[in-house]
Point group: C2
Chain length 212, copies 2
């Protein structure tokens, strides 16, 4: 299918998908790269270049069909699959992610939640019960879990990641503030919130510097 698409291009696809979804909702049938470029504030050239990494989705003189392009990008992103996922760490962040219904619409199915705090075990998020950590290995194996969401403090994350890998997890969505060391066949996507906040801090202070 695809061989070596750059990370930068992949990173932009979800945003294209979002704008195309909005256009679909407005019943827009077709759109040109230059119209889309105005909406999205990127160059039309970049849009065409990005899309052409995957093949010609448009037509000269016409542009791109919104529905078709939307579904092609969905396919590229693997959103036609269903993924079973679990959340490890049933604190506020874990609950927030577990309760986010839009994930379900995209094919991400919440199968279980885990926590080491006995006080949380048995509580529910959308009919999914929080289970104790001891049950984790067997649960992954017997419920065909693809993705684990790690919403626990960094201290425990490395060890839990090891357990996940040993039990055949395919991917980890990592919110713990640590870099996980896993085999190359396990996909990791990091969300380091404090890094993001620091970037914001940089922008604030750098703006103030340049405008005082």
């Amino acid at each position: 299918m695809d061989k070596d698409i750059s990370r930068a291009v992949i990173g932009r696809l979800p945003r294209y998908l979002r704008y195309l979804g909005e256009l679909k909702d407005k019943n827009v049938e077709r759109i040109s790269s230059s119209e889309l470029s105005v909406l999205m504030k990127v160059t039309a050239s970049q849009i065409r270049q990005d899309l052409n990494n995957f093949g010609g989705f448009g037509q000269q003189g016409y542009g791109y069909n919104v529905d078709y392009l939307y579904s092609e990008i969905s396919k590229i992103l693997g959103l036609e699959h269903q993924y079973n996922f679990i959340i490890i760490g049933a604190g506020n962040l874990g609950k927030a992610l577990g309760g986010y219904l839009n994930f379900e619409k995209r094919g991400f199915i919440l199968k279980g939640m885990f926590d080491k705090d006995p006080g949380l075990i048995g509580t529910e998020v959308r009919d999914v019960k929080v289970m104790p950590m001891e049950d984790l290995p067997s649960f992954i194996r017997s419920n065909d879990i693809d993705i684990a969401v790690l919403t626990i403090p960094k201290e425990g994350a490395v060890l839990v990641a090891k357990v996940l890998v040993e039990n055949g997890i395919k991917a980890i969505w990592n919110f713990a503030h640590v870099d996980l060391d896993v085999p190359e066949y396990v996909q990791v996507e990091n969300v380091h919130l404090s890094d993001s906040l620091m970037k914001l801090s940089y922008n604030i202070s750098s703006y103030m510097e340049n405008n005082k």
Copy 2:
């Protein structure tokens, strides 16, 4: 101070800071770019190049002093300032961010939370009360608020952002799934969680494609 440091460089600084913090905790006094490059799995050249954007923090034959480098990067990122922030949206995500104590350590002080749901008003997160949206404008003005964290659904986000800007907010940490259109003097950092999840999905499905 700094004129045009690339986004890529800034994006790497928080990760440098994290590793340096760990070294500090281990009482490591000095480190060379090549040692750090092994730890962080990047090239030594990149580390030196990145740091030299801001001046020579190291010394030939010696390397970098961990404490000094840590504090210099902190300064670059603007972490020596204090920032007052509020959270808009007191759902699980808002509560999770409000309860995250490490932000306080970095100088980000939670001053208030807001929600439109009457059922949430009056509840507390770390001694901070959730207030009704009507109080937002006056609160920002009279409490010297720098940053607003937006943890509300996208439908309301655009309108709330407008109110924030009108009342002099400096920066928005945006978790709503929409691009905000604000004046250039307002800094925005987006955290689009579903984009991140889609990238993970791409990696899973692309790995499976290439290894079936």
